[in-house]
């Protein structure tokens, strides 16, 4: 048990790298499998000091629900932003908003920031984890309180449930 974390500090990343290598490789030959194993073991080992302790996936099913929701939101919000961008620009009300977040874990906070950036209309600018504030730039703010509440309700709350924090 003590050998396992030392040789494979991040088994999930090891599996991910091996899987990606096999997907990208032109053929599923023995040589490629060997390369996948070498890369999958060596890359997490070389970069081990960069990886913080990864939080435990408490509820993977909620994660899938969240993923589907994010994809849906990307489609809906892309459409809205497309209309805003092509329409008259003086109707836009861009603003910085501070979203108070209750996530301590750096990995989960990064996930939340990435989701906010991927959904059109909002880009994460800065995370102040000490103060617990995610600074977001929004293309069009109609109602700031409603926007903050939506980010907290739609993304932060399920993320906290997925990782049990």
């Amino acid at each position: 048990m003590t050998l396992f974390p030392r040789v494979l500090p991040q088994p999930t990343i090891t599996l991910g790298i091996m899987g990606l290598w096999m997907v990208l490789a032109p053929s599923a030959s023995l040589g490629n499998l060997l390369l996948a194993v070498i890369l999958g073991v060596s890359i997490p080992w070389i970069t081990r000091s960069f990886w913080p302790d990864r939080p435990y996936l408490a509820r993977p099913l909620t994660g899938i629900v969240l993923f589907v929701r994010v994809v849906g939101d990307i489609i809906v919000a892309s459409w809205e932003v497309a209309r805003l961008v092509v329409g008259p620009l003086d109707r836009l009300k861009p603003a910085f908003i501070d979203v108070p977040i209750e996530i301590d874990d750096p990995f989960v906070a990064t996930l939340l920031a990435s989701i906010v950036s991927l959904t059109p209309g909002t880009v994460s600018v800065d995370i102040d984890r000490a103060a617990g504030i995610l600074n977001v730039h929004a293309l069009n703010v109609a109602d700031e309180a409603e926007m903050i509440a939506a980010i907290k309700r739609r993304y932060e709350a399920p993320l906290k449930r997925v990782f049990g924090c």
């Binding site: 990307i74 892309s78 961008v85 836009l92 910085f96 990435s114 600018v125």
Partner: protein, 101 residues
Amino acid sequence: MIVDIVISLLILVGATFALVGSIGLARLPDFFTRLHGPTKATTLGVGSVVIASLIHSGAATGGVSLRELAISLFLFITAPVSAHLLAKAALKTRANRSAKP
């Protein structure tokens, strides 16, 4: 036939959103609003093209090509990171500029 129509529609949707992203980049007034254009073009624009490619190669060979999924995975991981770094750099240079006498 139906597959071709679906693929064409997906490519058109993808191209439209890539175009809208570029229009946004050209039209929007300042740096932070411009930042919204490229992130959008990658998410939905490239996403649609990737799904079209997935269906096309799947229909041509009969199997599922996972390579397209890897492409979208890389894009979805890197797009928010680059947007975040650009925004952070912009905030910092602006702060430095206003701090100067």
